[in-house]
Symmetry: none
Subunit: 191 residues, 4 copies
């Protein structure tokens, strides 16, 4: 039932893991607790389903990004806006899903997703910074991705998802980082 997914996402987003309980989710979804278990074998299965759906939303947003033609600054703005809008429905969801909730089945729940997620950033680095898809640029992609995520999640937490100054600064951060990578042949520091 889609209502259950939606209710679960909302509770998770608003009350976090601590407030997430099957009876409450079922009630908010307007179905009986029995129906809940008709569709989901257990609580964690719902978490997994919510995660999958949300991560698909995020990927969808990134996949639609204009990689081919545009100027770097247009790409940066498009990236930020896409992610902001992907977090609009349930601002708190992403961080709870990635950071907190245990997973039902998969060893690494975010793994498949993360691979593609990082991959998109890596491709952007390839295109806008003219770098090969080596280990180094994968680390760069991860850092950029995590930085953008961090800003968006915290903006969501503070209710500043639509704040113009934040958006501008984040776009600047992305743009600057990518353009700098083009120039740099930095030497990875030692661990």
């Amino acid at each position: 039932m889609d209502a259950i997914l939606e209710a679960g996402a909302r509770i998770l987003s608003e009350s976090g893991w601590a407030g997430f309980n099957t009876n409450v989710v079922a009630k908010l979804a307007g179905v009986s607790i029995g129906s809940f278990y008709q569709y989901f074998p257990d609580k964690l299965a719902l978490i997994d389903a919510i995660r999958d759906r949300h991560l698909q939303d995020c990927l969808m947003a990134l996949r639609g990004l204009p990689m081919d033609a545009p100027r770097l600054e247009d790409f940066a703005a498009a990236l930020v806006d896409a992610l902001v809008s992907a977090h609009g429905r349930h601002p708190g969801l992403h961080r709870v899903l990635l950071d907190e909730t245990p997973s039902g089945g998969h060893l690494d729940p975010a793994s498949a997703f993360e691979t593609e997620y990082i991959g998109i950033y890596a491709r952007a680095i390839g295109i806008f910074a003219g770098r090969a898809l080596d280990e180094k640029s994968r680390a760069d992609a991860m850092v950029l991705s995590d930085a953008v995520d961090g800003v968006i999640h915290n903006a969501a937490r503070r209710g500043q998802l639509s704040d113009g100054s934040i958006r501008a600064a984040l776009i600047l951060l992305v743009e600057t980082f990518l353009s700098r990578l083009r120039l740099t042949d930095y030497k990875g520091a030692s661990a």
Copy 2:
């Protein structure tokens, strides 16, 4: 009891909110459940205490940063290293505390902390980017802070806190952003 704080931090870091339960914390701390409640009125009070302690640690790390003399790149490296080491003891703690756990008392649990936290970044922007401490640079500080946090939290989650490539990329990100701010007189977009 400090042992309780330490045990609580460890469990929170390793098992998240879902695995955090007073009996387990007491057992890991090596005290009886009765002693737990001698020192903390309830479960949330321990969370608050852990949060306070951890945030103090983070602030301490930032306060010790060399703001006066050094070159921007030295500052960036010092910043990243300080935060990495502040997260060394309980890598998962910060994100659980900020992102997931409910708060007992304070209206905004991270508020006082966050004000100083952002303030330090704002000061760095003032020094290294030559910007006044206006609203705009406060947004910049917030974005930079959240970006750095995001990278570090995710690195902690993946066990990559001591990964050299990540460190190098993050330092580059900080350095680039700060040096770009110096050049830019950007117009904050409207919300």
Copy 3:
């Protein structure tokens, strides 16, 4: 669940507040502890429910009293017998409820009840002693009510609820007091 109410009343009556505990009540009622909390938000809510039910029983007994026709001595006997039978099921209950148990919600748990309770005695005084319903007769009603209650509670405590001598003496007490009021125009002493 009515079984829970009944079990609670029985335990309260037999073991007092000290022996009253949700798990035991649930077990005696033949339901799981979970079901207990399905019907009562907490322990005190059950107390309140038991109190309400018991006080209703008492009121019911008094409401049915023959006020119109009969001779004073018939009324006194009917009053005593009604109250004795209202205390028959759970002899210790009333005193525990009034004297010992804390209340969940209402400011004065017995208040609404007490008002009607005293009111019935006041009406009897009006009828059988020919007195107006002023402050003075309200005090008389209170005293008579408390005296009768005291005798019945203590008889219940000693297992003498059906003792004939006690019954006769109590009836005499009521009858004597009411008939004396008819004759007296006493001056209430100063506080």
Copy 4:
């Protein structure tokens, strides 16, 4: 320690059995919990001591009553006033002690006391009603005693211990009952 007795009596009177807990009593008494257990083997021993002391106070009040000379109405007034003053210090105590609290040792905790207590009433009946000390008058004594107690306990509960109308009505009740006994050769009803 007398302070412990006093503190225990106060808590019992004000909060009932539900609020009576050794740590709180010790704190109110200004001694450590350790000292508490120096003087009392356990919680119930304190209850017993409090009960003994209180019942002694009540007996003392009754023993001082003027049985020999005075008119019935003077005796009734003296009786009421003595009991009122015996309940002045801890108005709620008596009912909690008699009605609710379990006892440590004695089979019937109030027994020895009650025997003398009732005995005094029986003697008064003998004197003022000219009745022999048979079973019948023992029942009368019990009823009168319980009636008076009931009025005083409930007055204490409502904070009306010094209310003049209550006092007058209670005195009237006692006086009327005793004088009626003198006239009556009633036949005890069947059990």
